[in-house]
Subunit: 335 residues, 2 copies
């Protein structure tokens, strides 16, 4: 048996933690082999929760600390109070080679700053990017940057194309990575000069990692013709959140429509298995987890409001990233 | 009886024109009073279509031309071939005071360029903006800019706030206009310097037209707490199209789910009136029509792919804008 994959888990961040974290570990553990969990947090809370699970003591280690970073802490104050918080210690365990990847459901800004303070950038990459999964008709897109960098240079966007493709290949190794640049459709002025220059650079860039497919407009993100969507952090954040708001609006209108008469309720009951399939396909827990790319270790952010199933999926993303040699893929292909 | 409102109608642009245009006029005419349609296009096509309607000859005038701008024409080549096209002539009829507003389902870029060539800007406004309606939980948002200006200054964004509010008040006169600036939620770096400066300017700007509500993130656009969403044209275009793509994705997944078994089909039939209500609420024809703001006459763009119902709604938008004195509202409040 190979050495186990070691995942550092910040048990204290997000809603209903550490409860959902420990239950998420149990779910992930049932469906995976040869994983070791380095759990960081308050053992007084964690031990009673672990006792309720079927985790074996050889599967995990609890690294005790009572300090943790709150959701409302600013990244700066988080970094200051940092060194004995569960988030800091779990990231530090990557630096010390005690873990291979880290996942936290805590404060995004703090995670970002503390990771940058503790970990090295991959050589030749100037800026880290926040990426996430986003469903399309044929599978999943990787979309980046989602807010780490408000302004991006041509070089940054080319790096993001490469890092996003490496991530897609690590997660879905049978698929070809196809990159598109998010742009607008106005005929007169197709994008700003940075986007146009990036287009040229990607067009001339021959690499074995991805195929460049040109521009994509917002309404085609989910068509499934490409699977790596590259943009600056401002635009990417607006696009992702607008999609989230639209999905919430439509599903709440639908729920209202289906419940607004007795006939509606009865037929919805008849129809429940189909609607459940629909719901499952759109379940945001399936693609829970943002991935910070550009550092020399994988840093995964689980959504603060997700539940144990969502957190287990973030652990799965960690596992796939390590097995898929994400960091090596980036290092080999960076220009 | 007052003088009629005169709407210039480019009958030749978009899919299935002039058929849907003439049928759209008939629908609008049934539900409105005292409107006169100045129709521009090929009378050989238009007259037979009008004969099938109940329109009275006193309700319209056909201004014959056989030339028209195609969807695939570049704005520049459209402007060059322009002067005897249906689009150019219908805009010119605003300049000549023969019409009060113009609506076209044709080439957006061409409409934009030809309108700018023929019409004056409202004094003190530097850039026109493209705005559209977007549903929220309580009614409708006005969102702008949607692609006319890739880069915007603080002054532009303040102007857009004012023009968007004037449009909202013209369309929904009983509601208070509430402005928000579209921004990202990253705690570290809340937006770029232009957005931050605009925030300051809007915060200090006392006016009777709108209330400034601060920043809004993409996932809250449809919450209904504000109703005028202001952003630059690049971000606005990406947001609108991403919302459109997300809505299409979800409704096609839903359709598939509801039709994927016999039980599903039966219960969908039982449920049809509820689903129809749902569909009606989200019907994009209801908010069909982008409005170009900043010129001293109202220019309305109907979606090229809409049908006669959608086109009739664009005519309704024209009518409301004129009755609501949109241009006067902007002129009175501009700083």
């Amino acid at each position: 048996m190979n050495n186990p994959i070691k995942i550092a888990v910040d048990a204290m961040g997000g809603e209903n933690s550490p409860d959902k974290i420990i239950r998420g570990i149990e779910i992930h553990n049932k469906n995976s082999n040869n994983i070791f969990y380095n759990i960081f947090g308050d053992e007084n809370l964690i031990i009673p929760l672990i006792k309720k699970t079927r985790l074996k003591t050889s599967d995990y280690k609890i690294n005790h600390t009572q300090n943790f970073i709150k959701d409302e802490d600013s990244p700066l104050s988080a970094a200051k109070k940092g060194k004995d918080t569960s988030m800091w210690l779990s990231i530090e365990s990557l630096k010390n080679q005690d873990s291979d990847a880290i996942v936290s459901a805590g404060n995004t800004g703090a995670l970002f700053v503390i990771a940058k303070l503790n970990l090295k950038m991959i050589e030749k990459i100037d800026k880290p990017a926040l990426s996430a999964l986003w469903p399309n008709k044929n599978g999943m897109n990787v979309v980046l940057d989602l807010g780490a960098n408000i302004e991006c240079s041509e070089k940054n966007l080319v790096d993001f194309s490469l890092m996003g493709s490496a991530l897609h290949k690590s997660l879905f190794d049978k698929e070809e990575a196809k990159v598109a640049l998010l742009n607008i459709g106005s005929e007169e002025l197709k994008g700003n000069s940075i986007i146009k220059n990036t287009y040229q650079m990607l067009n001339e860039n021959n690499n074995s990692l991805f195929k460049f497919e040109g521009y994509i407009e917002g309404n085609h993100i989910m068509d499934g013709k490409v699977n790596v969507i590259v943009t600056d952090g401002f635009t990417g954040n607006i696009a992702l959140k607008t999609a989230e708001g639209t999905a919430n609006f439509i599903t709440s209108e639908l729920k209202y429509a289906l419940n607004s008469s007795i006939m509606g309720k009865i037929s919805t009951l008849l129809n429940i298995s189909n609607l459940r399939k629909f719901k499952n396909k759109l379940d945001p827990r399936l693609y829970n987890g943002a991935i910070l790319l550009g550092l020399d270790k994988p840093v995964i952010k689980s959504h603060g409001a997700t539940d144990e199933v969502g957190f287990a999926n973030s652990l799965k993303v960690c596992e796939k990233i390590i097995k898929g040699n994400l960091i090596d893929k980036i290092k080999k292909n960076i220009i």
